[in-house]
Symmetry: C2
Subunit: 460 residues, 2 copies
């Protein structure tokens, strides 16, 4: 019997994790694996790009977990600089374009993995393609931005967007010695937090010398005689810029899937079942930034572009296509980030998320420290907790602070997964010693206050 | 109607948390509160003493969360330097001795809280009471030790015991400029870890210049002409000492309770129900270091002296005696500590704990880092995980490492509380960003390996 053929579209975390896991389970005599990647790199950490730009990390090689050569040495037939341009579902084949030779050819598959990732949102504005305006989605983007910094005529950077990428790039540009202005369309930076918590991020960014302009809608990129960016115009003013970084967010890269008639969700991502198999298609799997995932708290799908999910998807897909078994049950929406020493974390639902899915809730916000108050280096953190009205079930946690603030959100992530009430959380046996926590961990302090809020809200 | 009277025996975390919470719920016209504390201090952090001794913390005032005056200002009739010497259960009264005047008197109670804490194990050895030999259980102990350091004729310190207190005091003495030898009766330091993980602590202590002698049973304290300690003799050798710190552990201080006929468990601690009411006694509660707590993983009681539990007990007791409601469901055995920058954490069962309660298990040990491997400051950590044979239920986690190692154990603590399998843990949505975690958090890496171990162990 001839070997089955697995074709993988996309050579980053989800695709190559799937390929590697499948190869671990089945040798080349049983399964041939062909992977197509349109860029030069495989299995890299896009999340690390801000730290490469800041100078903290030597890039781009350090950000590559596994090179094309390493994949090939594991009997994976990997084609880089080769873009899949069509999926023929009925014919069980994909058409791939060699970007160097310009030649296209069809490759048949028995099983297909779609891992096409996400693409940065790039608003259709005058000047958006001018030299000096950069996205930071791929390693090539990172390299282009670093080259651009060297050529920048001055030291003024404008970052468009104040989500994770925006705030991380603001820090990176600051560390590169730029004067940084962040243009934020929303009411506060970090729209993945409630505005009251986003305000704390805003204040901290002010303290770091980063200028944040809220409610700023970009209308135009101005350019000079040489065509390079000179300023970013908004509905409220114009901001001179020697370099512009776009950190507006990403959307699923699913044009191929759409053209192939595969099912997409409300956020434009591929829809899969728990085994990461594309809904309605027994021999097609999808994972990573191009899919929608089930939000276990909200009970609906979301699009979340995050390497840790992509790696898990890849593992699950690889297990299943390799004859093993694995499922991805969903997410609770955990994310952590930082601006300099300010740590930012969230999991579960924000107030507006809870409202959007019909959940009535109470909130509790507390201030505490990451160590015993008397221990040197103890620094403040703010924890906001949402609990369901009546039942007291935990709905979400947001944390802004320093010194161990961010990863405390993991406790809430596990509690959300387990469906715990905030009352049950008050009894959690969390690690305590003065260098690591006050005698009541900040998460427990928030849970206690949330219990009071649930009680005060009554049961009518 | 006259106010009910609540009597509290013991003025540290559990007792005064109970008093404070009861006072919040009921005013003096409804409930009079009388508390007796045999020492000078109330509501202090004994866990902070090593950091006071090391010089990191200004003591002892910084370690006091609430002073006697603060308690009195909240309408709590607090008597310090007053020791309860007898509990008359039938007569609903306690006898208290004023340690300054030498006078004793009886005080009647409607409700009684016993929070007598723990006392350090002090083996009956020749010379154990010599000047220069110190326990570190109370703030008075801390002050006595600091005075002793000033008077020490040389700079050789011997720490007896290599548990939490032992390793923390080893660090403290090192930071005070002493040459430190730790005498450890067990096979490896940190007997609360499995020996393979304790060995990592041993190696790190070696690296810090702390000499650890394993398998060393102390037989005698040698003293000089002035009566002060000069050396510690063991069955394997004699170690010169200018100061000796005893960190052998503690046991419940329950002599009073025993004499009063109250029920004690196999570890000598008071037994309570879930509301922290002493078993069989409707009007007596107990909490803190003098009680045994239910180990939710092992399904039996343990004695754990830890301020965070004491505070929780106090809250629960205060709620219940104040007419509210609260329960303490039990612990999973979480503890964190450090020696210099080496972090040490554990939760759940060690191998020998699992064996002792008849659980068959598999283990998985992995090495990872606390940040993305390429991120500056990434340092190694080792995670060991125990899972139940067949079911794959998480049984325990031990972590030794640097840079955010310790508090990662909290994820396992919540998972244990929720009864998760290691397979369910592999899908946990933990915070990921390069400064905070590799793309697979070390706990998830351990869970994945534990899943393989469960599978490999079969299901027969």
């Amino acid at each position: 019997m001839a070997a089955e053929r697995l074709v993988v579209v996309g050579g980053d975390a989800a695709g190559m994790s799937a390929a590697s896991q499948a190869r671990r389970l089945k040798g080349p005599e049983e399964l041939s694996i062909v992977a197509f990647e349109r860029g030069d790199f495989t299995s890299y950490s896009a999340c690390g790009i801000p730290y490469w730009v800041s100078g903290d990390v030597e890039g781009p090689d350090a950000l590559v977990a596994r090179t094309p050569e390493e994949h090939r040495s594991r009997s994976i037939e990997l084609h880089t600089r080769t873009e899949v341009t069509e999926i023929d579902v009925a014919g069980h084949r994909v058409r791939a374009l060699d970007r160097d030779s310009g030649e296209s050819r069809w490759t048949g598959y028995d099983k297909l993995v779609i891992a096409t990732g996400a693409r940065p949102v790039r608003p259709d504005l005058p000047g958006i393609d001018a030299p000096g305006v950069h996205g930071v989605q791929t390693l090539d983007d990172g390299r282009a931005l670093l080259d651009s910094l060297d050529r920048a005529p001055g030291r003024r950077a404008v970052v468009v967007g104040a989500g994770y990428i925006g705030v991380e790039m603001a820090e990176a540009m600051l560390r590169r010695g730029f004067e940084v202005t962040v243009l934020n369309r929303g009411a506060q930076p970090m729209a993945t937090l409630d505005p009251d918590m986003g305000r704390l991020v805003h204040e901290a960014m002010d303290g770091l010398g980063i200028t944040t302009v809220n409610g700023a809608a970009v209308t135009r990129i101005d350019t000079g005689q040489d065509g390079r960016v000179t300023a970013v115009a908004t509905d409220g003013g114009t901001y001179p810029a020697d370099v512009v970084v776009l950190g507006i967010g990403v959307e699923p890269e699913t044009a191929l899937a759409r053209e192939a008639g595969l099912p997409l969700g409300p956020h434009g991502g591929l829809l899969t079942d728990l085994s990461m198999r594309v809904t309605g298609h027994d021999d097609i799997w999808a994972g990573g930034d191009c899919v929608e995932v089930l939000d276990l708290v909200a009970g609906r799908t979301r699009h979340i572009a995050l390497g840790t999910h992509a790696n898990k998807h890849g593992q699950v897909i690889g297990a299943n296509v390799g004859g093993g078994y694995g499922t991805f049950p969903g997410v609770v929406g955990t994310a952590v980030s930082k601006v300099c020493d300010l740590e930012i974390a969230r999991t579960g639902l924000r107030e507006k998320d809870a409202k959007a899915v019909g959940l009535r809730y109470v909130t509790a916000t507390i201030e505490s420290t990451g160590r015993a108050g008397y221990y040197p280096g103890a620094k403040p953190m703010t924890v906001k907790m949402l609990a369901e009205y009546r039942t007291g079930r935990l709905l979400g946690v947001q944390i802004v602070g320093r010194d161990g603030a961010a990863k405390r959100v993991d406790v809430a992530a596990v509690a959300l997964t387990a469906g715990m009430t905030v009352e049950a959380m008050t009894a959690l046996d969390l690690g305590y010693a003065p260098p690591f926590s006050p005698v009541w961990d900040p998460v427990l302090v928030a849970a206690r206050k949330a219990v009071s809020a649930v009680r005060a809200a009554g049961t009518d």
